[in-house]
């Protein structure tokens, strides 16, 4: 990787971190209104549930019914993790064993397929089309393109430049577009666990 690319990527990372920091500050500036009622269950165990068993496909009717969509989501997000890990590793690529290179390429490729597939569903399925904003289409397309390039780049060096460019763009897009749901995920699941754990609905400490 040339120094120019390193500067671009580090700049993009800085923008991303700075943007997410802004989201964190703005969110924390909002009032925190904890529930003051007597707990019936355990808020703590509710939070643990929210981030563990509560994410399992059998925990929700929606994922039991739409296992394929769930798996597509899982593959997409594993692909993203691989794509970003690959971006971080690229300066040390020579030290990455062949098996590692292959794993990143395969995960990114699978993620890309899931991403493009998701985009196709988004534009063809009438409910999804109705709720989608241009940001949704742009964000999924950007990340899918990034993963496609990532798969190519970890397969052979020809795709490295597009991979780095799309990686930088993705990093910048994280705080600006709907991709930031990856950040708010933690807030949302935390509040979910707190709410339902306290009420004895999830987390194993039942009401009666």
């Amino acid at each position: 990787m040339t120094p120019a690319w390193a500067i671009i990527l580090l700049g993009a990372l800085a923008v991303s971190v700075w943007g997410l920091w802004g989201h964190l500050r703005r969110t924390l500036a909002r009032p925190w209104r904890p529930e003051l009622s007597r707990a019936a269950g355990s808020p703590g165990r509710g939070v643990i549930y929210a981030f563990t068993w509560g994410m399992a496909p059998w925990a929700k009717e929606s994922t039991r019914l739409h296992l394929l969509a769930y798996l597509r989501g899982v593959v997409f997000h594993v692909g993203i993790a691989a794509g970003l890990a690959g971006l971080a590793l690229i300066p040390w690529r020579a030290a990455v064993p062949a098996a590692g290179e292959g794993a990143i390429a395969v995960a990114a490729a699978a993620g890309a397929v899931a991403g493009w597939g998701g985009l196709l569903v988004r534009v063809t399925e009438h409910n999804l089309r109705a709720v989608s904003t241009p940001d949704d289409l742009f964000s999924v397309a950007l990340v899918s393109a990034f993963l496609s390039a990532g798969a190519g780049a970890w397969w052979g060096p020809r795709w490295t430049a597009p991979y780095l460019a799309l990686g930088a763009l993705t990093l910048v897009a994280i705080p600006l577009t709907k991709i930031r749901h990856c950040f708010y995920f933690f807030f949302s699941r935390y509040f979910f666990g707190l709410f339902y754990g306290r009420r004895g609905v999830v987390g194993g400490v039942q009401h009666e």
Binding site: R30, W32, L36, L65, V131, Y184
Partner: protein, 437 residues
């Protein structure tokens, strides 16, 4: 870029949104990935599958306004992120999704990968609409009437005493026990029981408390809280205050609420937030008390009094949002001969379609009947001729669905089934009079 002129009304609506915009709401507004997986979780969509009935689509109306105010891209390029200036026609159009086609049941929330609290968003929408005089008139009227009743409690006291004396007589006759009392204003009683307007919530409770030998007193007020439906904490607090003050004045150990889902949501879970802390008394539903009585053997019940198969509809406020899933089942297993579960049930149960105050709004009768189609299918599939529930709103909605969809079932409250079983057990244990020679 032209900015829409902000009228006083729009400012008021945006002000209402700002006031409720806490961290939980920000997370719910920000996190939705519009994956659409929540669609079938919503009974409204499941009953009438139109894109606008997808929970995420409903919430988008508020998100669009939020993004225009708070999202950097929403301020610069609103079209890109689906941001929108709020207009008065938008506000008018928000009334239907907020008050009629979302019952705040949170079934979408437990089915969303992020746990997006769409009910919280729709409550924010209700707050905006209430602040700009766009809430359904009936809900406003009911809430204000309850507040007025609290302010003029003394004027009602004597009339209420007379009504309760009549009810006491009726309960004595039904039980065949002249020692049964319906105490009012009983200082030092352990339980303050809060019914609803209507004898059907007081008579069975009086019989049950008498049989369980409970120390109780009847509240002057009714449990329902329409302020909650309006998304208006000031009104909701004023309504709850009547009961809180009464409980404190009488020094009771606990307030027991009749079979009413939203009353439970209001006083058990929300009211401590409005008052800034826990109350010096417990708040429970009569369902929990019944379960305790059954477990402790304080009620002799004869399930043969209810021989037909009975299925149970979980109120969203009691079960999914209140954790009362096992308690009604403990009671049913003791009070009826053949209890059949509905599928799905418990926290996954479908809303009856009448929640969120909808059952009180006459102009949306057709809407709630359509939204109840999924529930009607569930009832039919359960195949039980008796449908029990522990919520007045659900009871009304299920009764209407019964007629609308020709279900041919009987809708009953849990207390009614308990009283049946209790009366039969009492008759069985009664020493028969010696036959005349």
């Amino acid at each position: 870029m032209s900015e829409t002129v902000r009228t006083e009304t729009i400012n008021t609506a945006l002000g209402a949104l700002e006031r409720v915009l806490d961290r939980r709401l920000v997370a719910a507004l920000e996190v939705c990935a519009r994956c659409g997986i929540c669609a079938e979780a919503c009974h409204v969509y499941a009953s009438d599958p139109r894109p606008e009935h997808v929970p995420a689509a409903r919430a988008e109306r508020v998100r669009a306004v939020y993004r225009r105010q708070h999202d950097p891209l929403g301020k610069l390029f609103p079209w890109l992120v689906g941001a929108k200036d709020l207009t008065e026609p938008d506000l008018d159009a928000l009334a239907e999704p907020a008050f009629a086609s979302c019952t705040l049941c949170r079934r979408c929330t437990i089915n969303c990968p992020f746990g997006v609290d769409t009910a919280l968003i729709m409550r924010a929408a209700r707050a905006m609409l209430t602040a700009t005089d766009r809430a359904p008139e009936m809900l406003v009227m009911l809430a204000d009437a309850a507040i007025a009743r609290g302010e003029h409690a003394e004027e009602f006291r004597e009339i209420y005493r007379e009504i309760v004396a009549g009810l006491e007589h009726e309960a004595q006759e039904r039980l065949g026990d002249p020692t049964l009392r319906i105490p009012l204003d009983q200082q030092g009683a352990e339980i303050l029981y809060v019914g609803l307007s209507g004898a059907h919530t007081i008579l069975p409770a009086a019989i049950i408390f008498h049989e369980a030998n409970a120390s109780w007193t009847l509240s002057m007020f009714e449990a329902s809280n329409y302020g909650l439906f309006l998304g208006d904490p000031a009104r909701a607090k004023a309504i709850a205050r009547r009961i809180v003050d009464e409980a404190v004045r009488l020094g009771v150990k606990e307030v027991v609420l009749t079979e009413c889902g939203h009353a439970y949501a209001a006083l058990r879970w929300e009211a401590p937030n409005w008052f800034g802390g826990e109350f010096p008394f417990k708040v429970r539903s009569i369902v929990e008390v019944l379960a305790d009585y059954v477990r402790d053997g304080r009620l002799a019940l004869d399930p043969t009094a209810n021989p037909e198969p009975v299925t149970y509809h979980d109120s969203c406020n009691l079960a999914r949002n209140g954790g009362l899933i096992e308690a009604p089942r403990i009671v049913l297993r003791a009070a009826v001969q053949n209890f059949v579960e509905m599928n799905p049930h418990g926290k996954e149960n479908f809303c009856c379609g009448g929640g969120g105050g909808l059952v009180a709004i006459p102009e949306w009768f057709e809407t709630r009947m359509r939204a109840g189609r999924k529930k009607a299918e569930q009832i039919r599939a359960a195949g039980a001729p008796v449908v029990a529930t522990s919520c007045e709103n659900c009871n009304l909605q299920l009764t209407d669905l019964n007629g609308y969809y020709d279900l041919n079932v009987q809708v009953v409250g849990l207390m009614e089934l308990v009283v049946n079983a209790l009366l039969k057990a009492r008759r069985r244990h009664a020493v028969p009079l010696p036959e005349a020679a």
